[in-house]
């Protein structure tokens, strides 16, 4: 037992966490005694300090800091790659430095939280099925939709993209791993910490945080202690995001294979490059906004107390300066995935590759100039509205370029409509709708009427479900054979797509209508006139929820016993498909050389990269080996 506690791992993490609680207890009571605050013991104070500190003890216990502490204490550190690669399933529950293991850890953990967040959505829809109270009281209801949004944003969409890119990106650019493998592990382990903290808030006295994922001050300042769980959990999720983004940027800049110029990078790499720029620059703002709320709550600061000169609108400015770019953080990696899937499955180069890359960067730049479009009715100065409307509308131009280029990529291709492609094509159509309602919302006069209504709920779900979620599904199905070495069940994949596609629309399309008709969002009860539509939406949403169980079943069963996929089932040119499935523990025997573009389908004799030990399939374009699809 003692030996187990000395080794990094779950036993030590548990021991350290308990130690952490005791330290926080001591710290709180000690400080209060020193400054003679009465009473000396204060549960709220201990809880808030613990929320900040215990995760660090946990991370230390599980082993995230071992190497760095050895290094910092001046001892000789040899990297024997003992923590690299997974030999059994148990290794996925340990600190691991292999980007492929971390990628799988990321994906599995974020899908775990996706299912919990989805369950919350089911609960929301059950409550809203008819007017009046059905299952939960208003406080729980506010908590449920707040946690639904928070989990799906911070614990699903953002990290699952980081997970997919973690797995694929180093392989794509011909790197043996990420630039900072241990930082990568730390980024991952902060996620379950943040997610668990959010869920634990249900146990807090006064209920979970219930001020929405936006946590506007002063509601969040006055709320019961459950709000602190959000405030602090977001710090960990944000830190995780920043660390990963930094890692991606450094990896992409310094570790590309010889010959992999910026304009030979696959668009997924471009997409993650752009996303990471956004994360590094914007995420500190949400950290700051929550720090300020925490200071107001815990230490009596006055940032958001108008009686003492505080400024309530400042919260929204700081918050949206992150949270608008966050929308692109949740979309750009998906854009990358779609480009990969379309080019490979339509057997054509991505149309207008350079414009695709530049439009990503344009979205990054413009993304920082539009935050106040969330605040058209917030009472901010009137003069900001028209400039923000214009910048917001301008974003439609680079986004339009991407949509048109994807359609042009399909044009005259040899299109194989298998599951990843279905999601990709479905995405283009649904995202166009979401983009159109976005342009409508940018128009201030209309926004004044529809902001804070179900029209917004519809828009965000068309963008984040029809947009992000569809791209995630495309990506998961597309790289599933690479990650597991096995093929998923195509039939179930298609059923999953069609059920999701149809009932996604039945669920969210009517929300546009009831929103414009006057149903505000974030309500547990509504006027009787909206009853019929809400019932239809609720029923449809349950079928939508059911569809995700098909996906879960498909993934688990195919991972365990699907047919072997071979190294390159899609006959793709990019580097990750040229190594075995799953890839060797160190990715390559020697670093590949890149000699051409990534999407030269149809160009006779074109080659993207040369590997020393070619895997089962030849690399040359157009002369792909016999298709291994079933």
């Amino acid at each position: 037992m003692a030996a187990k506690i000395r080794q990094p791992g779950w036993y030590r993490a548990l021991a350290f966490s308990i130690l952490g609680v005791l330290v926080c207890l001591g710290l709180s009571t000690g400080l209060r005694a020193a400054f003679s605050v009465d009473p000396v013991y204060d549960g709220t104070s201990v809880l808030q300090i613990s929320l900040l500190m215990v995760p660090l003890f946990f991370l230390g216990g599980i082993g995230c800091f071992d190497y760095w502490l050895r290094w910092a204490s001046g001892r000789t550190v040899v990297d024997d790659h003992a923590d690299h690669g997974a030999k059994s399933w148990r290794d996925y529950f340990k600190v691991n430095t292999d980007h492929k293991v971390i990628g799988i850890q990321y994906i599995c953990v974020s899908f775990f939280f996706m299912f919990i967040g989805g369950l919350m959505a089911m609960l929301v829809r059950a409550e809203l099925a008819s007017p009046g109270r059905q299952f939960v009281d208003p406080n729980t209801y506010n908590g449920v939709f707040s946690i639904h949004a928070t989990l799906l944003i911070f614990l699903f969409v953002i990290p699952v993209f980081a997970g997919i890119a973690n797995y694929v990106l180093p392989l794509m650019i011909g790197a043996p791993d990420m630039a900072f493998p241990r930082l990568n592990a730390l980024s991952f382990w902060m996620l379950p910490v943040a997610g668990t903290m959010m869920l634990l808030s249900f146990l807090a006295p006064g209920g979970s945080f219930a001020a929405g994922w936006t946590a506007y001050a002063p509601l969040s300042v006055d709320a019961p202690i459950g709000q602190a769980f959000f405030t602090i959990a977001v710090q960990f999720a944000g830190a995780s995001s920043i660390a990963t983004a930094l890692n991606f940027l450094v990896t992409i800049i310094t570790m590309r294979a010889p010959g992999m110029t910026f304009f030979r990078m696959p668009l997924l790499v471009w997409a993650n490059f752009s996303t990471s720029l956004l994360v590094v620059i914007a995420t500190p703002f949400i950290a700051a906004s929550q720090f300020m709320v925490l200071l107001d709550r815990a230490l009596g600061f006055n940032f958001f107390n108008p009686a003492n000169g505080g400024d309530i609108l400042m919260y929204q400015h700081v918050f949206w300066f992150y949270s608008h770019p966050a929308v692109y953080i949740m979309l750009l990696p998906g854009f990358g995935i779609i480009s990969e899937v379309l080019a490979t499955r339509a057997r054509k180069p991505v149309f207008g590759y350079r414009m695709m890359a530049f439009s990503l960067l344009a979205i990054v730049l413009l993304g920082f100039t539009v935050w106040a479009h969330h605040m058209f009715v917030s009472g901010m100065s009137d003069w900001i509205r028209i400039p923000m409307m214009i910048t917001t509308a301008i974003i439609a131009i680079p986004t339009g370029i991407k949509i048109f280029s994807w359609v042009a990529t399909l044009w005259r291709g040899v299109i194989k409509m298998d599951t990843p492609m279905l999601w990709a094509v479905g995405f283009i159509s649904m995202f166009t709708l979401g983009g159109i309602s976005g342009v409508m919302l940018a128009m201030v006069p209309l926004d004044i009427h529809v902001s804070d209504t179900y029209f917004i709920v519809a828009h965000i779900h068309y963008v984040l479900f029809g947009g992000s979620m569809f791209t995630i599904m495309a990506g998961i199905y597309f790289w599933f054979p690479k990650m597991t070495g096995r093929m998923y069940n195509e039939r179930l994949g298609k059923i999953h797509f069609w059920l999701t596609f149809v009932f996604f629309n039945v669920t969210f399309a009517p929300m546009h209508l009831i929103g414009v008709q006057g149903m505000p969002r974030r309500v547990s009860d509504y006027a009787d006139q909206f009853a019929t539509w809400n019932m239809i939406i609720s029923i449809s949403s349950f079928i939508l929820g059911f569809a995700s169980l098909i996906f879960l079943y498909n993934m688990i069963v195919s991972w365990r016993s699907g047919p072997k996929a071979g190294s390159n089932p899609w006959n793709s040119l990019t580097i990750e498909w040229q190594v075995s499935s799953p890839p060797p523990i160190f990715n390559f025997d020697s670093i590949p050389s890149v000699v051409g573009g990534p999407y030269e389908y149809g160009v006779p004799g074109a080659v993207h990269a040369i590997l020393d030990q070619p895997a089962e399939t030849p690399v040359a374009a157009g002369v792909g080996a016999a298709s291994e699809e079933n």
């Binding site: 219930a210 309530i312 028209i386 409509m417 128009m443 006069p445 804070d452």
Partner: protein, 359 residues
């Protein structure tokens, strides 16, 4: 790879068919969207402008969506991989500067036109009100609105908003606690009520009737229930109502005398919609009244040891003492203004008797 000439490019016939499909589908789509009954009734001078703007947006948007989807479906149908084509690649088309320029410029023009329209419209709907426009102070408090109409004789308070038809009105919106949002869907305008600042908008009601007032910004537990009404009246009727309200808020009726006439139970179960007093029973369970809500404490259990004076204090100043497990600021703190002394007395008497079985 070569050898795919039989898959061919698009023929002129294809193009005509495509164009026809896009035009027809767009026309059907636009017709359908315009036929839908999107908006609530038009209650203000702003409403027709917003609704027309919506129609314009729909007419521009539908063809874009239809065009993208048609091209997608056409591609998927026309160039679907057929048996024997497993090893085939598409033609290596890397792009087309001409096309890219076109699909950059056209959206730019559309966007420029729409934003110009929107900007002009915005200037119109937020034009400063004329001097002497009637001012209504709208105060948000968890979880109710109260309204204060400024008149030459001083402010007139009411829990329900009354407005005269066809007379411009300016709302000064404020909040006493957290952010609320003052929205009348029939009027089409909304603005946040932000503690510490005053936000405004102005419009002219153009339709007689009663419309919903909705809080559109999450303000806590009772957010969903923060719904009241605005009644738009003819000028004469408005004058009468305001005079009545002025009398009510000016000279309170003698206490006690009328108390017996007011039904405590009715107040408990349905509040007083005319003044915006929220019903106690919406949040509190009380056996005698048959209410079971659990937003606030169960009165049968909580008040066993309290006398009438204590109950009165809890209603008038609910934040003074909070039952453990419940939060401050949830219960409206406006009963002293939304209920008359007589009503309060009757309500307290009713609750006291119900809890202590003195009925």
């Amino acid at each position: 790879m070569t050898g795919q000439s039989h898959r061919g490019a698009v023929t002129a016939k294809n193009w005509i068919a495509l164009l026809a499909i896009i035009v027809v589908a767009s026309a059907i789509g636009i017709a359908f969207m315009l036929a839908l009954n999107w908006f609530p009734e038009q209650g203000s001078n702003v409403a027709p402008m917003i609704d027309t703007f919506w129609d314009v947006l729909v007419i521009v948007s539908v063809p874009i969506f239809v065009a993208v989807t048609t091209m997608l479906l056409f591609s998927v149908w026309r160039w679907r991989q057929k048996p024997g084509e497993e090893d085939l690649d598409g033609p290596p088309i890397h792009g087309s500067t001409k096309l890219e320029v076109i699909w950059t410029i056209i959206p730019t023009i559309v966007i420029a036109a729409l934003t110009t329209y929107a900007a002009i419209l915005l200037v119109d709907i937020q034009a400063a009100p004329a001097k002497g426009t009637r001012v209504v102070n709208v105060n948000g408090v968890q979880f109710a609105w109260d309204f204060e109409t400024e008149t030459p004789a001083g402010p007139v308070k009411s829990g329900r908003l009354y407005l005269p038809i066809n007379e411009p009105v300016k709302f000064n919106v404020r909040s006493k606690d957290v952010i609320h949002d003052f929205w009348v869907p029939a009027f089409r305008l909304k603005v946040d009520a932000v503690p510490g600042i005053t936000t405004t908008y102005n419009l002219t009601p153009t339709k007689l009737g009663t419309f919903d007032v909705v809080c559109a910004e999450l303000c806590g537990l009772g957010h969903a229930y923060m719904r009241q009404t605005v009644t738009v009246l003819t000028a004469e009727r408005y004058a009468t109502v305001m005079a009545g309200l002025a009398r009510a808020s000016g000279a309170k009726p003698p206490a006690g005398g009328a108390a017996a006439d007011v039904a405590g139970e009715k107040l408990f179960v349905s509040g007083n919609p005319a003044t915006g007093a929220t019903a106690c029973g919406a949040c509190h369970a009380l056996k005698a009244a048959g209410t079971t809500a659990a937003t606030g404490p169960n009165l049968d259990e909580m008040l066993t040891k309290d006398d009438a004076a204590a109950i009165m204090e809890m209603i008038v100043d609910p934040n003074k003492e909070i039952v453990p497990g419940y939060s401050k600021g949830i219960m409206p703190a406006n009963y002293a203004t939304t209920l008359t002394k007589a009503e309060l007395a009757a309500l307290v008497k009713y609750i006291d008797q119900s809890v202590h079985g003195k009925g």
